[in-house]
Symmetry: C2
Subunit: 351 residues, 2 copies
């Protein structure tokens, strides 16, 4: 057997990849069946009804992670979670994924086993089955994932449906992943006392149930995940909807920064509002709700995790109203891999 | 607008990406509709009936191409053709694709324009529409593509259906892409007189019509594309089918090597049988036909392009019978990105 085929066998053994129909939970779209999975030219899938949602996402060494700062199992786990987050943000139920894995030969041993362990954990958590992909040698680690999910016809929630007057909500607290990253970059991320703070960066969780509920019940008029930071992602949602937004700084739920000297060193002040506005990778949901739907939110899964942070406006700009009631324009200062001003993780690790 | 969003807009303008249903040609599976394309969290597609075929494929700088040896438009063209070849080899009609594009910042200018021009040409040729993807900065160029196609229910041709006694066919002549690569590696690929010989390496064509016909008419018992070389790919087909094969060397249709001194220099003898057996990237079809279906092949699109090169056997090994009637075991010596014995394109260019 050639070495690429052996690698594919290892991957297929490590990650759920069986054929057959998916078991549907109540309220889920469905009927999808994986008829032919890994090991042939392509996968064959059979839909019964509904719509399909498809998304791709890449994780690159030196850009999204480094092997020094990130354990292999976190890279495997997070690559799959990141890709699935876009799908969940449409309200879809994740079903299957294709994994393109590019590795230096030196990473095909134990590193790969740990990577696959993390990816398996994410696949089981998200209900995903591996249906195929590609493997290749490459100078650096590069993971590209395509995820496919199902949604009831006409229920996918896009970025384009926000209207003036809609209330803007976020789930969870923002800036948690950024704080975790900052602790890692300061070299103190592995201290046991910070484990709870680093986990949101290494092993983020998705709001699958909440997103599916918002789509199914037609409560959200627009929705997306916060992957590149609230300031950047809200600008994208507003651009697609042709609207603007007014946020209230005091309402934005944010991470608490521990008052410990070692956390504050490193030249960069950790400001919880800055991290909530511009920090990426929280994978929380950002969504808008028309006034007539607002009271339904009390029935949402985990209603106490939802916070109204502002409102959609017709003026095509995004402003933040501060504690002093003064509005200032919010620039997109979240994650942007092509912008040179903000340094990549690798550049920051180099110091 | 952030720079990643601008990049996505450029890609969407360059490559067909409109929403709506696909126009079906006679005999094609269908009813598929792209409801939401590029620019949201994910694409939404609506199937009507039939089965879907999904495949991913990666092209990496220094492994599959180099920017010195390969024009940008060839890299764009070929990345999409390579990915689509796996889909075609199931007998499916290509419909849409997701493009994950990882680029150094220095490649986001003119190089990208040329890359997209080549990819656009392939998309139009293959009938593909871009539905989404991801972009990221990366130290080297990395292209990962997921292609989705339709096939009539139960008609996808896998690698697993070959049975002892089936005849083994290939389309076209083998080793053409390898010869083109060898001319490039010898630094003479850009000489106009060799253009015709280099094209199969830079701009390979797929046998979409033939593959779809073989699937629709249920003529082929097993099928795959020859991407990594006949010796490697036939071994994969036989492994999946649990069979062996006997090839006849004199029957294998192969490229003619021009009897020109500059072609023969460079230390490596260009043997047409070696290139036909082990040369990769021809993207011709390899398929098996049961005896009772053989006469139907006369009705296939381009029947003169088809050659019977051997037969499937129950002995689980692959042998080649030489001109002297002597059978020898055929080792898999085609392209294998993880094998260290065979050097990557970049290593070979370094000399």
């Amino acid at each position: 057997m050639d070495s690429e085929s052996r690698l594919v066998e290892r991957i297929a053994r490590a990650i759920p990849s069986g054929i057959g129909p998916w078991r549907r939970r109540p309220g889920e779209a469905g009927g999808l069946e994986l008829r032919l999975g890994i090991g042939d030219d392509a996968a064959v899938i059979m839909p019964e009804r509904g719509e399909w949602v498809l998304s791709s996402d890449a994780s690159a060494e030196g850009v999204h992670f480094t092997t020094n700062a990130h354990p292999a199992d976190s890279i495997g786990y997070k690559s799959l979670v990141r890709a699935t987050s876009d799908l969940a943000a449409m309200g879809a139920t994740p079903r299957l994924f294709l994994l393109t894995l590019a590795l230096p030969r030196s990473r095909t041993g134990r590193w790969l086993d740990e990577f696959l362990t993390g990816m398996r954990r994410a696949a089981l958590l998200l209900g995903l089955r591996l249906a195929g992909g590609d493997t290749t040698a490459n100078p650096t680690i590069f993971v590209s994932i395509t995820v496919l999910g199902e949604v009831m016809e006409g229920r996918a929630v896009t970025r384009a449906g926000a209207r003036p007057g809609d209330t803007i909500y976020v789930s969870g607290r923002l800036g948690r992943a950024q704080l975790g990253l900052e602790l890692i970059l300061r070299g103190i991320g592995r201290e046991p006392r910070f484990g709870r703070l680093v986990d949101p960066h290494l092993y983020p969780r998705l709001r699958l149930k909440l997103a599916a509920w918002l789509a199914r019940e037609r409560v959200a008029s627009a929705m997306m995940d916060i992957s590149d930071g609230l300031s950047t992602d809200l600008a994208r949602l507003c651009a697609r909807s042709g609207v603007g937004a007014r946020l209230f700084a005091t309402r934005i739920p944010r991470v608490e920064v521990p008052a410990i000297r070692s956390v504050k060193r490193g030249g960069m002040k950790l400001d919880s509002l800055e991290m909530a506005l511009h920090g990426g990778e929280d994978y929380e949901l950002l969504f808008t709700v028309p006034g007539r739907q607002a009271q339904q939110l009390a029935r949402a899964p985990g209603p106490r995790e939802l916070t109204a942070i502002g409102e959609i406006t017709s003026a095509k700009q995004i402003v933040v109203v501060g504690a002093d009631q003064h509005p200032t324009r919010l620039d997109s200062r979240g994650w942007d891999p092509f912008r040179t001003r903000r340094r990549s993780i690798k550049e920051r690790l180099r110091g």
